[in-house]
Amino acid sequence: MGSNMAENHPVGFRWPMKARERGATIIHVDPRFSRTSAAANLYVPIRSGSDIAFLGGLINYVLSRDLWFHEYVLAYTNASSIINEQYVDAEENGGIFSGYDPKSGSYDNASWAYAGPPQEANEDAAAHSGHGMEGTSPAKHQPARDETLQHPRSVFQILKRHYARYTPEMVEQVCGTPKDLFLQVADVLVKNSGRERTSAICYAVGWTQQSYGAQIIRAAGILQLLLGNMGRPGGGIMALRGHASIQGSTDVPTLFDLLPGYLPHPSVIKGDDTLEKYMRESAVRGGYWSNLPKFMVSLLKAWYGDAATKDNEYGYQWIPKLTGDHSHVTTSAAMADGEVKGFIVFGQNPANGSPNGGLQRKALTQLDWLVAVDLYETETAAFWYAAPEGWKPSDIKTEIFLLPTAGPAEKDGTFTNTQRLLQFHDKAVDPPGDARSDLWLVYHLGRRLKALYRDSTRPQDQGLRHLTWDYLPERTDRRWRIRDEPSAEAVLKEMNGSTVADRKLVADFAALKDDGSTACGVWIYSGVYPDEGKNMARRRVKGDGWVSSEWGFSWPANRRMLYNRASTDPQGKPWSERKKYIWWDPAQGKWTGFDRPDFPETKAPDTPPKADGTGVDLHSGSDPFTLKADGRGWLFAPSGLKDGPLPTHYEPLESPLRNALYPRQDSPVAKRFPRKDNPISPPGDAEYPYIVTTYRVTEQYTSGVMSRWVGWLSELMPEMFAEISPELAAEKGIENMDWIVVSSRRSQIECRALVTQRMRPFRHNGRVIHEIGLPYHWGYKGLVTGAMANDLVPLSEEPNVYIQEDKAFTCNIRKGRLR
Amino acid sequence: MSRGYYDYPVVRRPVWTWEVPAYFWLGGMAAGAYVTASLAQTFGSPDDRRAAAGGYYVAAAALVPCAPLLIADLGRPDRFHHMLRIFKPLSPMNLGAWTLTGFTPIAFARAASHAAGTGLLRGPLGALSRLVPTRLAELAGCVLGLTLAGYSGVLLAATNIPLWAKSKLLGGLFMASALASGSAAVTLQAARRGAPDTTLHRLAMLESAASAGEIAVLAGYLVQSGRTARPLTRGRFAAPFWLGAVGAGAVVPFVLHRLAARRRGRALQSLSTVAGLCTIAGSLALRWSIFEAGKISSEDQGASFELSSD
């Protein structure tokens, strides 16, 4: 669901195909019959934007028919935990949870917490974005539980009530999915889960690019926990990410709200005035996040070196504090308003790759200067003369630097792939001409800036002055023409971490300290370079067809599967012989198996929780989810999310339909950008009656910079097109390959119509809703050019992870051309 | 007929251009003229022999552009000699290349021998030409000439282009057309040089026989081809085919020769001339229209499926 894996991750899809040939069932739930659907055993149509209704239907199916994995759910999830008395479910409140403030459009999630003594960290946890990873937990102590699951405020009972109306009939009404198909999916999933079998769910931006994206993934998480599919081989929820190192750029990260390794970014709003306050409020007593101070201090030591001392809070104040939402979407709006003066773009292409392309390009005209770094001339770099707006260059003030850069085979470095695997790539040749690696560009820019500020005494410049910036290799490599290339391995070592005193690389993050004696750039990567000459990301021991632990390095600590403690029963024995992965070896007194255990290695299954302990000591030997405060998988999220503790069906911000489940139409906390250049259609807007969804095809890549300059790919998908069903085509008098105009409240574009039975109309209570599909790869540079689907997309933000909604919005179409 | 993959053709469009039908036409005419002349040499009266011997000049002249045309049509003309790299009669084109290579010198030698005999060619070259064993040259030339005239249709037919391959008679058709045009060329030159009426009547009879044969084979070809022949019998190539190849090329000369059968002197000569010209032109029309219509046929998915079903 939410992924077109065969098309967008064809090599990844090699493995589901192998599984299919061994008897596995592939189910593809998608609005379009895609190449993934063609390879699936079962294709299930679903209207774009209704995923939570579908997953909620499955949850309800499992709960109401008592098909959940009892032993697993009782032991490993928070099903038995009791929730706060103040909690009011969306079910009883028209689709809105307790704690909602209509004025600010946000939730105070105190009422979602576990029942029990006042919990000091409740408030702060909400601020941890965690970027879809692990939210830190509010619980100081293990929460109150009712192992019979009968307590009306137990998570289990709340869950049952919340999803009671998500019946197969409701799924059919909301999703347009035929009831019999939905039931078939439910049946396959349930039969394929349990002790002997596991099911996996794969998703991609089909889920995340919705105004409640994180909640869709949460819904899948709930389902997988109920079925006992988490932490087990063949189970899990797979995020299929879209760029070579998008996981790495999330880990490190180049994201505004996080510091390396998912440490929350200090913020004025959260009141992170001092390091001490920041650490107190960010760290949690229970679970692995209790170690946050060690990671934070080590990070500061890595950045500021000897200048980071206990007395100056290890340089904490040199790190800027957030004053709001500085995400890409919000920044684009600010840029369009002239508030951003300088913009540096590394291998990205917002002019046609980001939502509301017209606004994005206008924003570029407002800049004083723009630095674009790429292998090819991008739409972003060329906006001033080539944009469809037809601006006169003489009207555009932006000073532009287009810097040529290197491809991966032209530099050393590491990509982190979608499964958290770090793989080092070796330099094969020098980049051509004046092209330089991004590492070179950033490093030498840093040197120049440090030189410019060398003599400054202003406090604001001291961070830069003290920034450790020493990455040139000791000996230049005579093989290469470019002699001043910084060493990627030196940077990787800094990320791995070392002791401050003797600069010895640390073996993993367990060695990090909060007293300034260790430095570590990215704690989760610690262990990637545990010793001189031992680059684990560069390990290339041929795959063994199973866990292949010796290929690259997987964070954390080379664990290939997170929470794999859940692959055994509470007593530490594999749930079944077929599905064994790690297990407790009483003879050795430790966890062993095919993978590194994602659990304290010698903590026996029967270890009781230490009530007075901290960190994972607060957990028992059978609490597998070590990053959680209570060590349990969260069916109900007492904190960490900004849009509710339980996934709830809302309609997309633009939808032709009314929410059939709740009076509340759409997400109460999704961020809209009500601006003149970003109008949004009201629900049921008759002028824009069709749903449109955007996507990639195999033959092209994102905004096209990496594919539309390659003839071999361009010829395979040369033109922009819209996929429409024969039914809609007939209604509109459109023939295959006709030119059509697709319009939304933001803009209109022209492209070819690809009339295909692979698109279908959806029926909702007898009403026919048409959906059209738009790939978004084209632009105005490259060997092949074409209209830009993103011009039609509204600016908006999902509240947790600030992603726009482009998988479901509304449009109209007509036969013909723009002019 | 079941549908295939969209409307994509099953086979590829031939890449050859106008040089190929032009060569088939000239080569065929040369062969026909040579054979006609040789038949006259062998079986005819002295008048016949004298009048028909001009056919050797026709043959030699028509052969001059053949090799250049063939070479010009190659994708890599610089490698024309690779045609003779191996001997592979299984490949009609290889067979044709060897045949042309063998026939051309013989035809030139025989023409030179005739020229020397009539005193047209003197000096050492003349003397040399007189040494040509004419009987042997005629026999060998006829064998090679008939091969040259006969292989071109087989070459086109030895493909998977429905129009060319469906019927088994294209080789025979081209052979008949070649002989008709060759004998017509002999008639033509004989008539222009004022050959005796008897000889002209005999040549006309021979040419008419070829035309009649051509019409018979063509009828068989069209019947065997059936629906597949549509690109030829309808559309763009219908006019050149029906009016040019069939009308001008066979029916008109046949009728003219019947008319001429009872005429003598200048009238006979004029009618023979016109008939000969018609036959020769029709022969070109036949090759060209079938050749070009073959390209359209190559795009006919249904015809390809028909060709490849039992």
Binding site: R760, V784 | V35, A40, H82, P92, G150, A176, L179, G213
Partner: protein
């Protein structure tokens, strides 16, 4: 003299025969990613040959040709009702069949087209003179002549080489190597045929009633062109994939064609003898 001829005509003795190699393209595993098309162009340095959308599903390649040696077909099938009953999207990576009796090879007058030691059909680029005869000879529309003034070996004939160069180092052909789902399998032809038979039985047992093999020795399609060394497992009738039911080998009817031709010639000679001899 012979040496001069050999040099002029570029004639060398062939290497000893090896085990026949080929492709088994199992369309039931194809996901239509076109990796084969690109990997082939990359390895063989073939140019892109046109940026035109066809509107025929996701196939913007159209056909095999001089600069396209793998071509993925996309066949959309569904009952034309709103529930899209029996919806299928068939994908098939087409390629030169490397026929046991190859029409192109038999047509070739220069010996440029040869059967290699791996029993594959290969165009020798230093021999081919671009006569173009192989183009209409092929019953599958595979081989084509590059434009005379193109950027890529102007004027000579091209088609899949089964990566003849790679075979020499025991490397898998580029398309088969890249194929992420093992739809394109490379190996010893006999072994591949065994595998294909097993696979067909497996699919039939799973209920794929329309599945069939194309190009096996026992198949009707092998009657004239012989077993295909690049053969296929199809999920529908061959014609659905533009494959002829009974691909024709011109040689099979050539004698008959020459016969008619000769008959006409002999007839003419007889008539000539009669006409001229009658009144001697």
């Amino acid at each position: 003299m012979i040496d001069t001829y050999k040099r002029l005509m570029n004639v060398e003795p062939p290497p000893p025969a090896k085990k026949p190699r080929g492709f088994f393209t199992d369309t039931s595993l194809c996901i239509g990613c076109k990796a084969c098309e690109v990997a082939c162009k990359q390895w063989n340095r073939l140019p892109a040959d046109g940026f035109a959308m066809t509107g025929n599903s996701y196939d913007n390649t159209g056909s095999l040709g001089a600069t396209t040696w793998r071509h993925v077909q996309f066949i959309e099938q569904a009952k034309a009702n709103s529930s899209r009953q029996d919806q299928r999207w068939l994908m098939m990576s087409d390629v030169c069949k490397h026929c046991a009796n190859a029409a192109c090879l038999e047509a070739c007058p220069t010996g440029a087209l040869i059967r290699t030691e791996y029993d594959t059909v290969y165009v020798q680029q230093d021999i081919c003179n671009g006569c173009g005869f192989c183009v209409p000879a092929c019953p599958f529309g595979v081989i084509d002549r590059a434009p005379k003034h193109g950027q890529f070996e102007p004027g000579t004939a091209h088609k899949c080489t089964l990566c003849y160069d790679r075979l020499k180092d025991d490397m898998t052909p580029a398309c088969a190597k890249s194929c992420p789902t093992a739809s394109i399998q490379f190996g010893d032809v006999e072994e591949l045929q065994q595998r294909a038979r097993r696979r067909l039985a497996e699919l039939k047992a799973r209920g794929e009633t329309k599945a069939e093999l194309y190009g096996m020795p026992e198949g009707k399609e092998a009657a004239e062109v012989g077993p295909l060394h690049a053969f296929f497992l199809l999920l529908d009738r061959p014609q659905t994939y533009n494959l002829p039911e009974l691909p024709r080998l011109p040689r099979k009817t050539m004698a008959q064609r020459y016969g008619w031709s000769a008959a006409v010639g002999v007839g003419f000679a007889l008539v000539g003898a009669l006409v001229f001899g009658r009144r001697r």
